[in-house]
Amino acid sequence: MKRYSAFAIAREALRGHTGWDRAWGSPQPKDRYDVVIIGAGGHGLATAYYLGKNHGVKNVAILEKGWLGGGNTGRNTTIIRSNYLQDASAAIYEKSRSLYETLSQDLNYNVMFSPRGVMMLAQTQHEIRGYRRTAHANALQGVATEFIGPQRVKELCPIINIDGPRYPVLGALWQPRGGTARHDAVAWGYARACSAMGMHVIQKCEVTGVKTEGGKVTGVATTRGDIACGKLGIVVAGHSGVVAEMAGFRLPVESVALQALVSEPIKPCMDVVVMANTVHGYMSQSDKGEMVIGGGADGYNNYTQRGSFHHIEETVRALVETFPMISRLKMLRQWGGIVDMTGDRSPILSKTPVEGVFINCGWGTGGFKAIPGSGWGFAELMAKGASPLTAEFGLERFREGRFIDESVAAGVAH
C-alpha cells in the first residue's frame, strides 16, 4: 500500500494522477478463510481490521452483497459521542471515540474526525435531572462531559433560539470531544487497510446460506459460490434477522426505517452538533456546508430504505423552532436506512447458539460512533472468546433481564 500524504499528492499531480494504487482490491473469493465476516459496513470492516492488527488473524474475507459502506454506514448523520449513561455503553462508545481521535493516522486515511463538540439540550426539568445524572456517571466512567447553562449554549451555538415560547433551553449536556467524521471515509479507510493486510473485501457477494455440521459452522453459501470458514461473524445491521435465520437462530431485533436529510450548503454558521430530544431533532453542519439533520424512526417494521414523510415534517418543525434561521434554507435530499433495533436499544455483540458463529448487531440508530470500538471488542471476542468491552452485550441478557437501557439519557439515540 502506497502511503497517502501531501507529498504523494504533489508527486502524483506532476504525472496526471496516474500512479495511484487501487484503494482496495477486487479479488476472487478463495475456497476457505479462517474468518469470514458478512457485511462490509463499518462494523464488519473494523472487526476485520482489528482481527488482523490486534490478533494477527489475516486470512479473512469480508463479504458484501452490494458496495462496501453502502448500508447504514454510508447513510448516517455521523454523530460521534460517548456520553452514555450505563457503564457498559460508556465503555465501548468511549473506547470508540478515543480510537476515532487517531483513526486518520492509524489508517493513513483522512476520516475527518472533527471533535467539534456535541450538546444535548435540556428543555424540561426532567431532562435537566437526566443529564445531570449522566454527567455524574460520565465523570466516573472517564468520559469528559459537563452540564452547561443556557448562556453557554448560546455562546457555543449562536444560531440557537434559547428562549422559545414553548420549550426554552434550560441547559445542555456538553461533550467537547464529541463530534463528527466523514462516514464514507471510515468505511473506505478500513477497507483499504484490510486490503493492504491481504484480506479480501468481496463486493457484490451476497450470503444466501450458512453451513453447519454438528452445531458448528463450516462455511457460507453466496451468490459467488460456497466459501468455507473456521469462524463466522455476522455484521449486517438491518438484515441481521435474515442472516441469523440462515444460521438457524432468532434474534430479539426489529428492523425499521430511520431517516435523515440535508439542506443546501451554506457558509459556516454552526460549529457544534446539537441534539434536541424534547422536540425531537438534531443538526450539525458538514464541512461541505450542508445542515445535516436527523429525525425519528418509523413506527412499523420494513426494509424499504425510505420512510414516511411525516417524520421529516416533525423533525424539520422541531428544528425550525430550535434554529429559526433554517426556515429559509431548503431541504436538498432526504433518505432512509434500515436500522436494527433491540428491545433495550443497546447492541448485541455475542456468541450464538451455533459454535463459531458470532453476531454484532443492534446498533440501531446510533452505531456509526461505535465503529472502531465495536470492531476492537468484537475482534477480541472472535479471536479470544471474550472481551471486557463486549461482556455485557451478550444475547443471554434478554433471557436474564439484564438490559442495558439508555432511555434515560437519550430520547434520540444517535
Binding site: 499531480a13 496516474t18 482490491g25 483522512n110 445524572r133 455524574h136 420549550y167 426556515s327 432511555s407
Partner: protein
C-alpha cells in the same frame, strides 16, 4: 455580450418595466422575466463561482436543472441563500447578490484553488491533512469549511409564513407541458377528479418554444385552448408554480407551491406544502438536456442549446452575438434556427455525427448556416467567458482544425427523461439504446397497496420522442390512469401532430473521442461541484467501481441540482473506464425532493407558540395571571411554582411547601390522567394491568396501583377508584395518560380482544383540584354541602356530592402526607370552582402550589415519583413496593419478567433515604462510589441519587436513592463525588426514605 433583443419574448410584458439590483448594481427587466433572463438581458454573464475551484460561472440552463446561477436573495429576515436565478420570477425591488467569493464576484481570491487544481483532484482530502493531528480541527478543517458552502447563512427569524394543504384526488398529473395537459384532459373526460400541477408560471412546457403544431394550430394556441377548457371542468383543478416534490408509498405525494416568491406580500403565505393522496399519479415531467463534455465547457457563455432557445423565444434575450452550436442530435438545430430568425449570427453548427441528414439539418443549411459534421469542439477559448472555440475531428485526439470566434456556445448531448418522481417510490428504469437515456420501465412501476402500479410516466418523461408520440402516449396514460380508478365516462379524441423526421442521435460522452489527459482535466461534468471527466476516471482507477462510490468520492451529482445535468454523463464516463455497459453500472438512487424545498414550507404553520398543540387546564389563565413559572410536561404546561414580585423561584417553592404544611394549599391536578375502564371483565383486566389486586376493590374505595411493562419495569402509577361493579377510574401520571391509555388498548385489541372491557380517556373532561393541608376540611366545610368527616369519607375513600354550588367527586387521597381531598368537577366548572376555593380559603391562608412543591412534599413522605425513582430499569421490588404486588394473582403484566435471574438478584440497588452529614443538598443524579475500578477502567459505583431537595419542613437536604443492599445498610455513610467543580465528595448517610410523619398521623385525620 448577452443582451435584450429589440423584439420578441413571448412571456414578456414589455410595457411593464421591473427594477432590481444585482450585487448592488441597478438593473431593469420586464414583467415575465426570470432573474436569469433579466441578468442576461443586462449583459451579466458572470453570475457566480463554483464550489471547489471558485471558477467563474455563468447561466447554463433555463429551468430547475440550473447548477450555476445561484444567488442570495433578499435581506434580513427575508434573506435566502442559493436561490436559483432560472426559477426566480423577477419582481420590483428584487435584490440579488452572487455567492461563494471573496472579496468580489469579479475578483475572487478563492480562485487560487483553480490554479492549484491539479493538486486537488477528486478525493484529495482523504489523502492528506493528517499531520500534525490537531491541525485538522484547528487549521485545515476551518479553512475547508470557509471555502466550501455556497450562500450566506440567514441570521434572522424568517419573516414569512407557510401553510399546508391537503388534497385527495383520483389522478394527479405532475407537469403542465403538452403531455400533462393531454393526460389531464383525457383523465378528466373519463370523470376522474384530476389535479394538474406545473412548477413554472406557464403552461405548455417546451412545445411553444419548439414551434410544434397540434391539432392544426401552433402549440401555444393549443395550450391556451386546452387550459381554458380544463379550467371550465369542475372535476379538474390546475395549479401553476406548484412542483411535484416527492412521491411516497401509497400514492402520497408532496407538492410545493410557491405563492409569494414572485410577488412577496406581508401576511400571505410564501409557500404551501400540498399533501396529496392520489389513486394514480401521472408524471409528465419532461426531459432535461445533457451537456457535452469538451474542454472548457464550464466557461460563462457555454449553455444548453435548449436553454438558449428559451431565452431567445420566451424572453427576447440573446445570450451572445455569435453562437456556435455543438451537438450530437437534431434538436439543437432548432436553436440555430431560432437564433438566426432573431437576427443573430451562428457561425457554425458542429455536429459530432459523421453524416446526419434530416429536414431540420437541411433547413439550417438553407438559412446559410455552416454545418460541420463529424466535428467536435476541442476546446473553448477564453478566461472568464467564451471568446471562441477550437474545432477538431470528433474521432481524433483534438488536433485543432480551425478556430471560430464566438461569444456563446450552445451545446446539446441529447435529452434525458425526468425520471426522478417515477423513481422516488421504487419505479425502475431501462436503458434506451437509441436515445441514449434511461426511461421508466413500465413493467416495474412503483407498487401500491393493491399490488398494482400507481405511477405512470407520460410523454417525453416516458421516453416518447417527438410531438406526435408525446401526445399519443400522454393521452393513453391519462385514459389508463382514470380507468385504473374506475372512471370511464367519456373518451375524447387524442390530440394529433405531424410526425417529424429526425436523424438519429449518436451518443457522445467525450468530445473529441480520443481526448488526452490535458483536455479531460478541463471537461466539466458537474459544474457546481467542480467534478471533471478526469476525476471520474481517477475514481475508477482507484477502485471506486460502484456508481455510488464514484459519486461519493468525486461528489458528482451531489450539488444543489442533484446531478440533473451531470449524472448520465458521469455514469457514461465511469462505465467506459470500467469497460462495462451503462445499464450494468446503473444509476444512483433518486431521492426526494425533485428540487430543494424550503424548510419553512415543511414546518408549515407550526412555529412559535403554536409549534405544538398546547393543552390548557381550565385554570390555565389564572396560573398565567398569577406569576406561574411554567414547566412543560408533555403538551401541557404546569406551574412549577407561582412567583411573587421580588421572589426567586427557589423562595417561591419553599414558601408554597411551608404554607401547605401549615395552612392550606391548592394544586391544579387536572392534568393527571383519568382513564375510565368499564365492562364485565374490567376487574379481571385491571388485575392484569396492575401488580395489585384491583378486582377485590370495593365500590367507593380507592387503591394506589402500579403498572409494569412486559419486561417487568415500573412504568406508571396512580390511584384507582372503583365507581361501581363494572366501572373503574384509573389515575395516571400527567405524562403517562396517553401512553397508558394506548397501552391498555393495545392489550385489549391484540391479546384480550374477547374480554368485555371498554376504556375512555377522560383526562380533559374533569378539572381536578387537590385541597391540601391541615385546614383542608375546614375550608370545604365552610363551602358546605357535603359531610367530609373522617367517618363519612375515610382515607382512601371517594364520594360524589356537592360542595358549595358545585357537583363534585371527592377522593380522599394524599400525595403530600397532609390531610388532602382531590376534588373533580366538570371541566367547564373548573375555573369557577378554583376561584370559589380561593375565596373560601382566604381566611385560612390559602395558597396555590406548583409541581416543585408537590415533588418536595412527596419526597419528604418517601413517595416515589415515576421518572425520578424509575427510569425504565427499575422494578417495583427495587422501590420497596412489594406490598403493592399481589401474591395471590397468577399473572399480571411483568410478573414473569420479574422472575428472571437478574430481577431477583439480591445485589440489585434498592430504595433508601439519604441524608448529607452537613445538611446540604446532594447533587442531582450523583453516584456513590465503591472501591476500585472495573475491567474497562471505570470507577465502581454502589448507588445513586434519584431525588434530592432542600426540605423546608426539616430545613435540610433530603434525598432518595437506590443503593446496593441499601435497606440492610442503615446508618452507613456513602461518598458522592461532585461534578460542579467542588473537590470533596459529599458524604451522606443511609436512612429511611420517609422523612416526614412516618406514621401518617397528618393525613389520616
Amino acid at each position: 455580450m448577452s443582451t435584450r433583443l429589440a423584439s420578441g419574448g413571448r412571456l414578456l410584458d414589455r410595457s411593464k418595466a421591473v427594477d432590481f439590483t444585482f450585487n448592488g448594481k441597478r438593473m431593469r427587466g420586464f414583467a415575465g422575466d426570470t432573474l436569469a433572463s433579466a441578468l442576461l438581458a443586462n449583459g451579466q454573464t458572470l453570475v457566480g463561482r463554483s464550489f471547489k475551484y471558485h471558477r467563474p460561472r455563468g447561466i447554463v440552463a433555463s429551468g430547475a436543472e440550473e447548477p450555476n446561477a445561484l444567488v442570495n436573495l433578499g435581506q434580513g429576515p427575508r434573506h435566502e441563500p442559493n436561490q436559483r436565478a432560472t426559477t426566480t420570477e423577477l419582481f420590483d425591488g428584487l435584490r440579488a447578490t452572487s455567492q461563494n467569493h471573496w472579496p468580489s464576484l469579479e475578483f475572487d481570491v478563492g480562485v487560487i484553488n483553480n490554479y492549484a487544481s491539479r493538486f486537488l483532484p477528486a478525493g484529495f482530502y482523504y489523502k492528506t491533512f493528517m499531520a500534525p493531528r490537531p491541525a485538522w480541527k484547528h487549521v485545515f478543517e476551518p479553512f475547508i469549511r470557509q471555502s466550501a458552502g455556497l450562500g450566506k447563512a440567514p441570521k434572522d427569524r424568517d419573516a414569512d409564513i407557510y401553510e399546508h394543504f391537503y388534497a385527495h384526488v383520483d389522478v394527479l398529473v405532475i407537469g403542465g407541458g403538452i403531455a400533462g395537459l393531454a393526460a389531464a384532459r383525457q383523465a378528466g373526460a373519463a370523470g376522474a377528479r384530476v389535479l394538474l400541477i406545473e412548477q413554472t408560471a406557464h403552461w405548455g412546457g417546451r412545445a411553444p418554444v419548439d414551434g410544434a403544431e397540434i391539432d392544426g394550430m401552433p402549440a401555444a394556441e393549443w395550450v391556451n385552448d386546452t387550459v381554458e377548457a380544463l379550467e371550465a371542468e369542475e372535476n379538474i383543478r390546475l395549479r401553476r408554480r406548484c412542483m411535484g416534490a416527492g412521491i411516497y408509498d401509497h400514492g402520497y405525494v408532496m407538492a410545493y407551491e410557491r405563492l409569494g416568491d414572485h410577488d412577496p406580500q406581508e401576511g400571505l403565505p410564501r409557500h404551501r406544502l400540498w399533501k396529496i393522496r392520489a389513486k394514480q399519479v401521472v408524471t409528465a415531467t419532461g426531459a432535461i438536456e445533457r451537456p457535452l463534455s469538451f474542454a472548457g465547457n464550464d466557461l460563462p457563455g457555454v449553455m444548453l442549446a435548449g436553454a438558449i432557445r428559451d431565452y431567445v423565444v420566451n424572453w427576447g434575450v440573446s445570450p451572445g452575438d455569435r453562437t456556435v452550436v455543438v451537438t450530437n442530435n437534431d434538436d439543437a438545430y432548432r436553436t440555430a434556427l431560432a437564433l438566426k430568425q432573431a437576427g443573430l449570427e451562428v457561425p457554425a453548427i458542429i455536429d459530432a455525427r459523421p453524416a446526419p441528414a434530416s429536414p431540420l439539418i437541411q433547413a439550417a443549411r438553407d438559412l446559410g448556416i455552416k454545418v460541420e459534421t463529424g466535428r467536435a469542439v476541442a476546446k473553448v477559448k477564453g478566461r472568464a467567458r467564451v471568446e471562441g472555440v477550437a474545432v477538431s475531428a470528433q474521432a481524433g485526439e483534438g488536433a485543432a482544425l480551425q478556430d471560430i470566434t464566438c461569444d456563446a456556445v450552445a451545446m446539446s448531448g441529447g435529452w434525458s427523461p425526468v425520471v426522478h418522481l417515477w423513481s422516488h417510490c421504487g419505479g425502475k428504469l431501462v436503458w434506451d439504446e437509441e436515445n441514449a437515456h434511461f426511461r421508466p420501465d413500465v413493467a416495474r412501476p412503483p407498487i401500491g397497496a393493491d399490488g398494482a402500479g400507481f405511477v405512470r410516466a407520460a410523454g417525453i418523461a416516458n421516453g416518447a420522442m417527438g410531438t406526435r408520440d408525446v401526445l399519443a402516449d400522454a393521452d393513453a396514460q391519462g385514459r389508463a390512469a382514470a380507468l385504473a380508478c374506475g372512471h370511464k365516462r367519456r373518451k375524447k379524441t387524442a390530440p394529433s401532430a405531424a410526425a417529424e423526421e429526425a436523424a438519429p442521435l449518436e451518443p457522445v460522452w467525450l468530445m473529441p473521442q480520443g481526448a488526452g489527459a490535458a483536455l479531460r482535466a478541463k471537461m466539466w461534468l458537474d459544474f457546481q461541484n467542480d467534478v471533471k471527466v478526469s476525476d471520474v476516471q481517477l475514481a475508477a482507477r482507484e477502485g471506486f467501481e460502484s456508481v455510488e462510490h464514484t459519486k461519493r468520492y468525486t461528489t458528482l451529482g451531489m450539488a444543489t441540482d442533484q446531478g440533473k445535468l451531470s449524472n448520465i454523463n458521469g455514469l457514461a464516463v465511469l462505465s467506459q473506464s470500467l469497460n462495462e455497459e451503462i445499464p450494468q453500472v446503473g444509476t444512483t438512487t433518486f431521492r426526494p425532493p425533485y428540487t430543494p424545498i424550503s424548510m419553512g414550507a415543511i414546518a408549515g404553520e407550526a412555529r412559535g407558540a403554536i409549534f405544538q398543540p398546547l393543552r390548557r387546564t381550565p385554570m390555565h389563565d389564572w396560573h398565567a395571571e398569577n406569576g406561574a413559572y411554567w414547566e412543560p410536561v408533555g403538551h401541557w404546561r404546569r406551574p412549577y411554582c407561582y412567583q411573587r414580585p421580588g421572589e426567586s423561584v427557589e423562595e417561591a417553592v419553599q414558601r408554597e411547601v411551608r404554607n401547605t404544611r401549615e395552612n392550606l394549599g391548592l394544586l391544579d391536578a387536572s392534568t393527571l390522567g383519568k382513564i375510565l375502564v368499564k365492562g364485565a371483565d374490567a376487574g379481571k383486566f385491571l388485575d392484569m394491568m396492575h401488580t395489585n389486586m384491583m378486582s377485590t376493590l370495593k365500590p367507593g374505595r380507592c387503591r394506589y396501583g402500579l403498572m409494569c411493562t412486559e419486561n417487568g419495569f415500573l412504568t406508571d402509577d396512580g390511584v384507582v377508584a372503583r365507581i361501581d361493579d363494572e366501572t373503574f377510574l384509573c389515575h395516571t401520571t400527567t405524562g403517562g395518560a396517553d401512553r397508558i391509555h394506548a397501552h391498555m388498548e393495545e392489550w385489549l385489541q391484540t391479546e384480550w380482544w374477547d374480554w368485555k372491557v371498554w376504556t375512555a380517556n377522560l383526562t380533559e373532561q374533569y378539572a381536578q383540584v387537590a385541597v391540601v393541608g391541615p385546614k383542608a376540611r375546614e375550608v370545604l366545610d365552610l363551602m358546605g354541602g357535603m359531610d367530609l368527616s373522617a367517618g363519612a369519607l375515610p382515607f382512601m375513600g371517594w364520594a360524589d356530592g356537592q360542595i358549595g354550588d358545585f357537583k363534585v367527586r371527592v377522593y380522599r387521597i394524599s400525595f403530600s402526607g397532609e390531610l388532602s381531598f382531590e376534588i373533580a368537577v366538570d371541566a367547564h366548572r373548573g375555573r369557577a370552582f378554583w376561584d370559589a376555593l380561593l375565596e373560601a380559603g382566604a381566611g385560612f391562608g390559602v395558597m396555590p402550589y406548583g409541581t416543585e412543591a408537590l415533588h418536595i412534599m412527596r419526597a419528604e413522605k418517601g413517595f416515589i415519583m415515576i421518572g425520578d425513582e424509575t427510569d425504565g430499569t427499575v422494578i417495583p421490588q427495587d422501590l420497596g413496593l412489594d406490598w403493592a404486588i399481589s401474591k395471590k394473582k397468577t399473572d399480571y403484566l411483568g410478573k414473569r419478567a420479574q422472575e428472571r435471574t437478574h430481577m431477583t438478584d439480591p445485589d440489585r440497588w434498592k430504595l433508601v433515604g439519604l441524608e448529607t452529614l452537613d445538611g446540604s443538598v446532594l447533587p442531582d443524579g450523583a453516584y456513590a462510589t465503591a472501591p476500585d475500578s472495573n475491567a474497562n477502567g471505570q470507577r465502581n459505583v454502589q448507588g445513586r441519587v434519584t431525588s434530592t431537595y432542600h426540605s423546608p419542613t426539616l430545613n435540610r437536604g433530603i434525598a432518595m436513592g437506590l443503593v446496593k443492599h441499601g435497606p440492610d445498610r442503615m446508618g452507613e455513610v456513602l461518598e458522592f463525588p461532585r461534578t460542579d467543580g467542588g473537590k470533596a465528595a459529599v458524604k451522606a448517610k443511609i436512612v429511611s426514605p420517609v422523612f416526614y410523619d412516618p406514621d401518617g398521623e397528618k393525613q389520616n385525620v
